[in-house]
Subunit: 385 residues, 2 copies
């Protein structure tokens, strides 16, 4: 096991009828900005419920935070907060809204051009406004971590940041608020959480028994829960499990003390920034191809993954690894998510630009061994054709 | 899944050469009291290392905190802190020292008789001194939770308390500091952690997939790690796994959203208070007997435990449950811990007094169904003969 620090101060309030607790979770005197995405938070009543719970507090709203939230949009929220002297941010939505809220929280008191927060991946954040979240979409884990991803539309750049100052103070997780989500968003969420776990698990062994068992338990639970969540949208236990799995997939716990990969995310980010493909779908394209290309350096963990997650016990080592990769791909496809570039109308001609963008963003030594060079990324994308 | 809140702000600093980080973890101006147990913290050099890391701070020491820390001893520490106007407590030791430190932290600013903190199980704590810990014994999980147990010697009472105010601010977990522990303490720690997990897992199903998988993963890891830790005291990976397992066994995570039992602990506490038997050993006596007596209300979970933790797939349901209970008992015995009352020179004549003490302490409706009455506790103790 590697040395690590683990510190996650976010309070999770989980279950039905929990939005009313906002009244005790926010300071009574808070001047609040509610940040959300589009019409769905309004249509499903969550926004009204949130406002009712906030009682007499001064509350303003900022809507229109996109999937893959943009710097351009978020800077308008920053201006509003500064102008109106608001002091507490409340994200109501999924990972994009929460990621965007984290950026706003850090950008408001930031001295200088806030884009540099992204360029320095958050290392230059020294303070942030307090904020909480009401989660409506299980997927990214942003509700219980300190990271975010923001896209600058003008330059097709999608960059990640994190800071000890950008943990939500609390997150409310009410599984019933996910009942009305479209199947596409549920499927995306399942795949996103799956790949988050794999990025922290499927590297090389460091004798970290619990981290491995926890990751495997999350994957097994997700493999059971994903299809159920599509089939029975209003089954409480299914949605509750999905929500808690997605949160634990990226709250720092399973990644503490182990090597981490994240190359699938970095390559996927470029596909989203260039072609607007949903984040989770880019991961579904890249991961199976990446496991195939990198099967030698991931050999031991791929065998463990095959055995413990997919119960594959027969065949040669290579055959078991092939089966595990194919089962991974089949799971994504079963969730309704295609796993090859041509399914998104991209062919070999698209690869050069992705590689150029990876190089432009300094993504030239990715993965747990820093050996995913642009040449390796090219092999991975070719294997995804 | 049941509704829950999860909030655990303790910072974990895990690994080799981590004690030096104390200098940044404590405020520079802190007036510190180091609390510890006996000679071992001194002999193995940990105490000197801690003092060196604290640099120029005003530091005093309080030694002599017993296993099963006593109210009588801890109140002397409370007096010292008040008299010397110390402001930061640092526990150096295992669960007893950390539990005791939590009590001191709450008792120093407490208005009234501090014994009432125990009588009210901590519900009357409104503030506490800040404190951290340097863990030297993996076992109780106290390093990453807000609970403690204190014994009042004068009346043979061992009572538990918890409060949102009594989380350690940080805990340093250096596995190398456990290399010199006697085998008896390692064995106790393994059994203690095992039973912590079981108290939160082996109840009845509430469709909490992740909590179940995490608990099973911890139990499987502990079953592998326990005997290794006895056989190879200086194997870093083994001690690291044991330390992290024991912490995660009782940091609130696996118990969030699920029913909990804790009757084994409550019955065990009386055996310790009356007869001085090591805490873990009382659990090893009570648990197998309790699972046997309560096999009907725990039926579904016992079958799951048999299958997933012990890989028992053959035989009738009753046979599988019998096998799982016997494997549990055999694991404790393999760790060198006897599992029946006569092994501790106690016979049927001892049972009446234990039952009387349970009644005196209001422990008359224990367990996840509140159905462990004094009559059931008697059956359990009889089954442990």
């Amino acid at each position: 096991m590697q040395n690590f620090e683990f510190h996650n101060p976010t309070r999770i309030v989980f279950g039905t009828e929990t939005i009313g607790k906002l009244n005790t979770l926010l300071p009574a005197s808070a001047r609040v900005l509610i940040l959300y995405g589009g019409a769905s938070a309004k249509a499903n009543g969550t926004l009204d419920e949130v406002k009712a719970a906030l009682g007499d507090r001064h509350v303003q709203e900022f809507s229109g935070i996109e999937p893959n939230p943009t710097f351009e949009t978020l800077m308008r929220a920053v201006e509003l907060v500064r102008q109106e002297k608001l002091g507490y941010l409340l994200a109501v939505g999924g990972g994009s809204v929460i990621d965007g809220t984290k950026f706003v929280a850090a950008a408001v008191p930031f001295d200088g051009d806030p884009w540099s927060i992204l360029e320095k991946h958050g290392r230059n954040i020294t303070t942030a406004l307090p904020f909480g979240s009401v989660l409506t979409l299980p997927a990214t884990g942003s509700e219980m971590n300190n990271g975010g991803v923001v896209t600058k539309r003008a330059i097709h750049a999608k960059l990640a940041f994190s800071s000890t100052h950008t943990f939500p103070q609390f997150s409310i997780l009410d599984p019933t608020k996910t009942y009305t989500l479209p199947p596409r968003q549920i499927a995306n969420g399942v795949v996103d959480a799956f790949v988050h776990i794999v990025e922290q698990y499927l590297t090389y062994p460091v004798q970290a028994k619990v981290q491995d068992r926890f990751a495997e338990g999350l994957l097994q639970s997700l493999i059971e829960t994903g299809p159920e969540a599509l089939a029975n949208p209003q089954d409480y236990a299914t949605r509750a499990n999905l929500m808690w799995i997605a949160t634990l997939a990226l709250n720092g716990l399973i990644g503490a003390g182990v090597p981490q990969d994240w190359s699938t995310h970095m390559i996927g980010h470029e596909l989203t920034a260039l072609h607007g493909i949903d984040h989770a779908r880019t991961l579904a394209i890249v991961l199976p191809a990446s496991l195939h290309v990198r099967r030698d350096t991931k050999h031991a963990k791929l065998l463990q993954y095959a055995e413990r997650v997919w119960q594959i016990h027969e065949g040669s080592e290579d055959e078991r690894i092939d089966q595990a990769i194919e089962k991974t791909r089949a799971f994504f496809e079963r969730m309704g998510i295609a796993t090859r570039l041509p399914d998104y109308e991209l062919g070999a001609e698209a690869i050069d630009t992705v590689i150029a963008q990876l190089e432009a963003h300094g993504m030239t030594q990715l993965g747990e061994h820093r050996d995913v060079t642009p040449a390796t990324s090219r092999h991975i994308l070719e294997a995804a054709l």
